[in-house]
Amino acid sequence: MAKLFAVTILIIAILSAVPILRNTWHPMEDISTHGQAIDDQLSETMWEAGISFLASQIILAWFIWRFSGTKLGEKTKSFPGGAAGLVAGAIILVGLEVLALGIFGVKAWANIYFTQPGADAMPVQVQAGQFAFYFRYPGPDGKLGPLHADKISETSQNFFGLDPINDPDSKDDIVTAEMAIPVNREIRLLMHSKDLSHSFYVPALRIHQDFVPGLDLQLHFTATKIGRYEIVCSQLCGLGHYNMKAYLSVMSQPDFDDWLKKEAAMQ
């Protein structure tokens, strides 16, 4: 039975690795300028973790195969080098692995969080609420008007709680249910939650950030490929959580200008 068990471990380990090696299921194609560093990090981790996984399972299976069964008169033996060698090996090998992943990982993270958006980055506000995203673009004045929680009303479609009568900056703001951005243009995303914690997860953009009620956050990114992608909520927010999604259209600059004009006309 020990030998069967060893073979089973081996088969499971190999079968587990096959979809990874064949790339059967994989992250969506990256469409951001910062995503390559994340993908490189993922790939490097996959190699290191994959080798650790296969090596450990294979040695476990081998030792189970080799050292099972009671042999009369045979004495037990100790691993050559004892614990000290294994401890030293673990500290050196895993320590180096950890250092490498940790240090290189800083760069991928810093690309997103420790850099400032350029002065010409286009501001887009996204507001999350049970169970929809809404987006707001500044009009020709380039300014977003202030939000008033007491004026938020789904029924009158004042999703953000704007007060265009008293706030001149709000008058030309453009509110949309879909997000569109021009390709190769840096976006400054202003994240606001009107009710609970939500998340802004766009796998293709390599962007994933929770909304924090009471704390508006900013992100910046640049999309490099025209297309239609999905924004989904990954932070449990209630019964409609699974259905909280919106589309992100990455367009050429002229297409985007046309789209924004049409949206403005519909306000």
Partner: protein
Amino acid sequence: MHDMSAHAAAHQGPPTSFVRKYIFSLDHKVIGKQYYGLGLAAVIIGMVLSWLMRIHLGWTNYPIPGLHLLSKSGAAGDVMTPEFYLQLMTMHATFMVFFVLTVAPFAAFGNFFLPIHVGAEDMPFPHFNMMSFWVTFVAFCVMVSSFFVGDGPTLGGWTQYAPLSAVGAVAGPGEGAGVVLWATSIAIFCVGQLLGTLNFIPNVLDLRCKGMSLWRMPLPTWAWFITSCMGLTAFSVLMPACIMLILDHVAGTSFFVASNLVINDQLQPHSGGSTLLWQHLFWFFGHPEVYIAIVPGMGIISHVLITNMRKPMLSHRVIVYSLGALAVLSYMVYGHHMFVSGMNPLSSLLFSFPTLLITIPSTILVLIWIGSLYGAKLRINSASLFALGFISMFITGGVSGFFLAQPSIQILLHATYFVVAHFHFTMAIAAIFGIFSGTYFWFPKMWGRMMNETLGKVHFWCSFVGVYCIFMPMHYLGLAGNVRRYQAFVVDYMQPLVGVHRFITIAALFTGAAQLIFIYNFIHSRFWGEPAPDNPWQGTSLEWSTPSPPPHDNFGGRHVVVYHDPYQYGVQSSTGDYVMQDSPEQVQTAHEEP
């Protein structure tokens, strides 16, 4: 070290009435069995809930016969509503994490065996110990009651992130009374576990018998001791956090709710609270909790393997130090649950390094286990199979930790099925394999009868293969961006993944059904199993020096004296290839550690 065991036992003669013997018992062994029974009840509930969830994820609109009996509003026509799915998911995790993974490996086995392992006659505070169980039982009843109150249990997930959990019924079904009952139950649970740790720690420090130095304690006892120290600090944080959450509901406070939140077009009457405060408090408990679930299993499988390898681990001390390192580091890594939560991104990096570092003691443990197999005379039985299965599961769960320790990779994988795969392999399945290993190993001692080995092995094979079929594909789903906690996959890019979910559902139903073999084996063996000898596995530690099951005072009035390290195998003695800890026989041993 003081020999207070006789003193403790002097306060309690063998009980005579049914109530004092089996219900309000002061005997740590009865309390251990009560905890085991509670864990078994909870795991059955948790497993049935997971079946319902999995069927729904595979075939979303498929009616599940009889489901309306569980909730009329949540399953009209036996088809599960989105909110009912989330309620079942929340309760699955809650029952599993608190009432199974904390209760069984730590409270159940720890209660039964820790005093025996150190040669004590009972816990130092038997009344506290009895209270510990019954308080936990009340917590369990409160949690179960939430199914039948108002609009059912909370749907906010076992993590109960605020403000969803703190604003009341306006946020959705179960978010009013359901959350209050959840938080009440967990606060009570914390009290129960704190009472438990207050017994475990002094038991180890003060009630060890003569000759039982700390280094002579068997590995599970070290693991329970370390777990107690973690529990003492972790539950002490979760309990007040739950009380604060209850106050946000019933007393108009705003600990976790910020100003100006609008839900259903209603401006919420809260101001000034912090959304992230709950996450910090919860995960300060939550990450040590992962180790509260897994560390006892590490001790148990080491103990089982040593007995079945007929040789000690390569180093007793290195295992203990590694368990200790896991415990200490577990407090410094909790922020990896919050990389994209909106906390300072610099904090994410600072939490990332200790998270990566924690792989070092984990790797050392795995290498010591595998290295110790070298040159062993490995006996294959149900207990050792589950122990070896534990190592395989822990390796698989451990390597996926490499990914999740890095903030940049969590941008892709946070809150996806990759995380579900990772934590199930480590804290859930590995821990449950530890429970099974302990059960097959210690059943003869606890109930005085042997379990059926053939059924045990069938149970193992179905579980081992089944678990890999369930959880390995979840890694692939996560890589493809499949978000967790969704009741259906209406997002375009997730729809092609439904086939994988169906495969997982079939595997889950099969693996769940295989657990019925265990339940049958357990019940049948309990009453009709072959009577167990005192030392069926030729073990060396003190539980094997006493009858099966042990008498009321554990050693029949004998004052135990320990002469040896816990695992003297591979020696030549009058009993065979081992010498028991309390045997005065002097033997030559090749393993002179410690």
